[in-house]
C-alpha cells in the first residue's frame, strides 16, 4: 500500500491530475494494511523535525516489510527529490511559537483560569489543523501569483482553528466524562466540570476576539458557522435513526459538522484572505471537507483497531458512549443483530463486547477505510486544481498520513 502511494506522489508532481493516486492506493491488496502498520507517527511530537526523520525511517521499514513491494520506486528517491517535503516539515516554520502565541491571545486576570486555558496548549498536540491551514494558505497564495509568504491574518486563522478545536475538546471531555486526553488528566478531572466548561467558553471567546481583529466580515461569518456546526454535531449524537439509510446519512452529516467543518471553513477562510475568486474558495473548502471526513472515519476505525493491535484489548470508547460509527454501521449490513443494539445505544450488559466482536468479524473496518480513501481521493482531485507548488504536494501527501496514522 505504501509503495504505490510514494510512486503516485511522483505522478502528481509530473501531471496535474492526482485522481489516479487513490485508485492505486485503494485497490492495493484490499487489506486495511495501513491501519495495521506499526507506529508511523509518534503522535504527540509530529511538529518537530526529529520525529519527522523518525517517520521517514519508520515508514521505509514498513515499505520493505509489506508483501509484493518488490521493485519500482524506493524511498531514497523520495528522499532525494527536494521538491517533496514532509507536510509537517514544510509547515514547521509557520507553526513555530504557535502555542506561545495562542497563550498570549488569552488575557486572563484570574490565575487559576489562565492555567486551565493554557493546559492543552502545551506544545504536545499534533497541530494537525494549523498545519493544513498554513499549507493551504501558502498553496492559495502561490496560486494567486503572489509570493508564497503567509499573511499575518492567515497565521491567525491557523491559531484560531486550534483554539476552536481545543475549546470543543474541553467541552466534549466533560460531556463524555473522559479522564484522559493526550496522555494528560483532563481538565474536568483536575478542576471539576463547572470550571472546565467555563475555561472552554473562555478559549472560545478569545478565539472569537482574535477572529474579529482580522477585520474581515466574511471570514468572521465563515468561522462562526464552525461553532454552530460543532454544537449541532454534538446534538446529532444524542439521537439514533431507525432507518438504515437515514442512519448513514446522519452519521456522515454529524462527522462533517463535528470534525470536517472546522478544517473546511478554516481552509476557506485563508483562501478568502488572498483571493476574491469563489472557485478558489470552493477548492479550499472541498479539500478541507473531504480530508476532514476521511480523518474522522480513520479515527472511528482506530477506536476498533488501535488497541486491539497494541494491547490485544479493545478500547471501543465510542461504543461505550452509545455511538454507532462507520464500522458498526457497515457491520450491521452483515449482522442485522446489531440493529437492536444500535437502537438501544449499546446500553444492555454485554452489548459493547458483542458489538465489538461483530464488527471485527465483519468487513466493517475495511469498508470504512474504503470510504475514507474515497474521500481522500476527492480531496486530492480538488487540490490538484491549484497550480503546482511544494505546499500543494504536501497537502496531497498528507492523505497518506491520514490513512495510515495509528493514533
Amino acid at each position: 500500500m505504501a509503495l504505490p502511494l510514494s510512486r503516485c506522489w511522483r505522478w502528481t508532481l509530473g501531471s496535474s491530475t492526482g485522481i489516479s493516486l487513490l485508485n492505486t492506493v485503494c485497490s492495493g491488496n484490499g487489506r486495511p494494511a495501513a491501519i495495521a502498520t506499526a507506529s508511523i507517527l509518534s503522535g504527540d511530537r509530529l511538529v518537530n523535525l526529529a520525529s519527522v526523520k523518525k517517520f521517514r525511517s519508520l515508514s521505509r521499514d514498513n515499505f520493505r516489510s509489506l508483501p509484493s513491494s518488490g521493485s519500482a520506486c524506493t524511498c531514497s528517491e523520495v528522499h532525494s527529490d527536494a521538491k517533496i517535503k514532509d507536510p509537517f516539515a514544510l509547515a514547521q516554520k509557520d507553526l513555530r511559537n504557535l502555542y506561545d502565541d495562542i497563550k498570549k491571545e488569552m488575557f486572563v486576570s484570574v490565575a487559576e483560569l489562565k492555567s486551565l486555558c493554557d493546559y492543552y496548549f502545551d506544545g504536545k498536540g499534533k497541530a494537525f489543523r494549523p498545519m493544513i491551514v498554513v499549507l493551504m494558505a501558502r498553496a492559495c497564495n502561490l496560486h494567486s501569483h503572489r509570493d508564497g509568504d503567509l499573511l499575518p491574518a492567515q497565521r491567525s486563522i491557523a491559531m484560531i482553528s486550534e483554539m476552536i478545536h481545543t475549546a470543543s475538546l474541553v467541552h466534549d471531555d466533560v460531556i463524555d466524562g473522559s479522564d484522559i486526553r493526550r496522555g494528560k488528566t483532563t481538565i474536568n478531572n483536575v478542576w471539576g466540570e463547572r470550571k472546565a466548561i467555563l475555561a472552554g467558553d473562555f478559549i472560545l471567546s478569545a478565539a472569537s476576539m482574535a477572529l474579529a481583529r482580522i477585520g474581515n466580515n466574511t471570514v468572521v461569518a465563515v468561522l462562526s458557522q464552525v461553532i454552530e456546526d460543532l454544537v449541532r454535531g454534538e446534538f446529532m449524537q444524542l439521537g439514533s435513526k431507525e432507518n438504515e439509510n437515514e442512519r448513514f446519512k446522519h452519521y456522515l452529516e454529524k462527522t462533517f459538522k463535528k470534525t470536517a467543518s472546522l478544517i473546511a471553513n478554516s481552509c476557506k477562510a485563508v483562501s478568502i484572505l488572498v483571493s476574491s475568486d469563489p472557485e478558489i474558495h470552493e477548492i479550499a473548502y472541498q479539500y478541507g471537507r473531504n480530508i476532514g471526513i476521511a480523518f474522522q472515519l480513520v479515527d472511528d476505525i482506530l477506536d476498533f483497531t488501535s488497541c486491539a493491535n497494541q494491547l490485544g484489548k479493545p478500547s471501543a470508547a465510542d461504543l461505550k458512549l452509545g455511538l454507532a460509527t462507520g464500522p458498526v454501521l457497515f457491520a450491521c449490513q452483515q449482522f442485522p443483530e446489531l440493529h437492536a443494539m444500535i437502537m438501544r445505544r449499546f446500553g444492555s450488559s454485554g452489548d459493547v463486547d458483542r458489538a465489538w466482536q461483530y464488527v471485527l468479524q465483519s468487513d466493517g473496518v475495511q469498508q470504512t477505510l474504503y470510504l475514507a480513501q474515497s474521500y481522500c481521493q476527492e480531496a486530492i482531485r480538488q487540490i490538484s486544481q491549484l497550480r503546482p507548488s511544494s505546499e500543494r504536494e504536501a497537502l496531497i501527501q498528507l492523505m497518506g498520513l491520514v490513512l495510515s496514522r495509528d493514533k
Binding site: 486572563v108 483560569l113 471539576g192 476576539m209 477572529l211 474579529a212 481583529r213 458557522q225 454534538e234 446534538f235
Partner: protein, 389 residues
Amino acid sequence: MAVALAKASCIGRLCTARRSISLFSSTSPSSWSKVVSDAEKIVGYPTSFMSLRCLLSDELSNVAMHVRKLVGTKHPLLNTARGFVHDSRNNLQMRGLVVLLMSKAAGPSSASSGLLQQDMVSGIYPSQRNLAEITELIHTAFLVHRGIVDLKEWTRSDGPLKDMQFGNKMAILSGDFLLANACTGLAQLNNTKVVELISSAIGDLVQGIYHESDSWAEDSSLTEDTTVASWEDKTFLSHGALLAKSCQAALELAMHDKEAQALAYLYGKHMSLAHKVNSDLQPFVKHSAGDPVTLNPVTLSLNSAPVLLHRQIVGPERWAHQLKQAKAAGKQVDYAKQLWETVSAEKGVRAAIDLCCCHGNKALDAIKCFPPSEARSALENFATAVTKF
C-alpha cells in the same frame, strides 16, 4: 427555550430553590413592572426573531424532552428553566430592553446617513434589535453554564449520580447552543468591532463567574484585602460587562462617535452595579428577623455588598469574632440567620444603600447629554427605580 424548558419543569415535584436566578425582579414589584411595561411600549415589539428561532429549533425541543427526565432531581438546570418562566414577564428580556432603549435614545447619528432610515422600526435599526437578542442569548447561556455541577462534590443526598451527569450534559449542550447562535448572530451584524467587543464581554463574564461557586463554601474567597473597589471590579465582570459593552455596541452599530459610545458604556456599567447592590440588599430590606424561610445561604452571601461593607465598618477583628459566633450556631440556615442579625444591627446596610444610589446617579449622569426623549426617560426611570427601597 423558556417555553420548552418550562413545559418540562412544570411537571411534577420541584426541589426547593438552591440558587437565586431572579434578576431585576426584586425592587418594589408594582413600580418596577410599570417601568418595564412602559419601556416595552417605547421600543415597539421588544424582540426580533432570533430567540424564537432558537426556541423552535430541533435542538432545544430535544433538550426540553430530556430535561423532563430531570424532574425530581436536584440538578440546578431545572431551577434555571423554572426561573425563565417564573420571572419571564419582568426579567428575561431586561438586558435586551435596555439595549433597545439605549439605541433609541441615541437615535441615528450624523455619520449614519449610509444606513437606511426606512429600515428603522420605532427608531431602532434591525441590527440593534439583533444585538439586543444576542445579549439575551449570551446572558441565558451563562445562567445555564453557571449551574453545572461538579461531580466530585456530589454526595448521596443529591440523588443518583447519573441524574447529575445527565443534567450537566443537557446544561452544557443547551448553553453551547445558545452561545453558538450568539456567535452566528454577531457575525451577521457585519461589524467586526462589535464582534470583538461582545466577544470580550463573554470573556469578562467567564472571569467574573469563575470563582462564584466557591463563595459560600470557602470563607477565604472574601480575603482580607477585599475592598469596595475590588468588589466592584469583580462584580462588573460578572454582572456589568455584558450590558455595558452591549450598550456601547448598539451605538457603534448606528455609527455614533467614541464619546457617545463611552457614555452608553457607563450607563450600562453603573446601572448593572446599582442593580447588583440592590439585589444583594433584598434579604435585608424585605425580611424581618422572624422570616427565616427565604434566608438560605445563597440569598445571603458573604460576598454580597452589605456584608462586605459591614466587614469594612466593624474591622477585621470584630468581623472574625462575629463570624465565629455565627458559625457556632450550627446548621447553615441558623448560621445565615445569625449573620443576618449581626449585619442588620450595624451600618453596613445603610452604606450599601448609599453605594446603590451612587451608581444609580452615575448612570443618570451618563445619559444626561442624550437629547430628551421618551426612551431616555425610560432609561432614567430604570436608574431611579433600582435605587428605591
